[in-house]
């Protein structure tokens, strides 16, 4: 029971560090730690498939992509843009108001039942695979098309325009 609260505390701490770190590289490293705490939460919920996918896709693929982009862009300390304090205070107030509204709406619901893992095989690859390739076969195929088009789009956007060849 207490392990959930410890991991939740770590998630919030690292999430705050992500948005407050001055150096963008530190920001990405803290984001990796935040995602790692989320992976632990998935394991605690016995969603093993999601834990592995979160680990591989988010921490393996997406964060590496972020790091490489940051290295490509090569930000300097003095080129790091900073907002004025007034805007920052207003932004924190706005986000805080959102959180207060969400929490207040939650308080109105009252106490809830504890989350129990009733079916231990719920989040395993066997069970999820059966559902994914039975009920969700069409969305699955459409998502493959989406990934293909995203890949083509990314390559198209990131390649430099070639100068037209004069004699060609």
């Amino acid at each position: 029971m207490s392990i959930f609260y410890f991991i939740a505390f770590l998630s919030i701490l690292f999430a705050v560090l992500v948005i407050s770190a001055k150096n963008p590289v530190h920001s990405i490293l803290y984001l990796i730690l935040t995602f790692f705490t989320f992976t632990i939460q998935y394991i605690l919920l016995n969603a093993q498939f999601l834990a592995i996918v979160n680990f591989i896709v988010y921490m393996g693929a997406i964060l590496v992509l972020f790091l490489y982009t940051l290295m490509l862009i090569n930000l300097n300390k003095d080129s790091e843009p900073v907002k004025t304090n007034m805007v920052k205070i207003a932004a924190v107030l706005g986000g805080g108001c959102l959180m207060v509204v969400l929490v207040a709406a939650l308080k109105a619901v009252g106490t809830s039942q504890p989350v129990l893992v009733k079916d231990p095989g719920l989040g395993l690859v066997k069970n999820l695979g059966k559902i994914l390739f039975d009920e969700f076969l069409l969305p699955f195929e459409v998502s493959s098309l989406l990934l293909l088009s995203a890949m083509v789009g990314a390559v198209l956007l990131a390649t430099r325009d070639k100068k037209p060849v004069v004699n060609g």
Partner: protein, 109 residues
Amino acid sequence: MDSFFKTVQSVPLNHYILLSAIIFSIGVIGVLIRRNAIIIFMSVELMLNAVNLLLTAFSVYRGDATGQVFVFFIMALAAAEVAVGLAIIVMIYRNTNSVDINVLNRLKW
């Protein structure tokens, strides 16, 4: 293994919602206070992950695996979004030599 999850999981559903709400709000604040486009992008990822965790918690709470399939689709979507978004950021950096979002105000007027 079975008894491990029985003893570990006695957390009320409200606390999962609370955690997700806090992480989501941190993401919103991050989008608002930073001007570096990459960090704004990372805050969006933070918000996506908060929603993912909540969907998984509800899925386990209801004993319905559909929520976890949905999270899987969100992750595929996030991967596509990051690839295109980072390509756009790289292109913007090539054209303006900066990732400051305040430079990109030509659509404003």
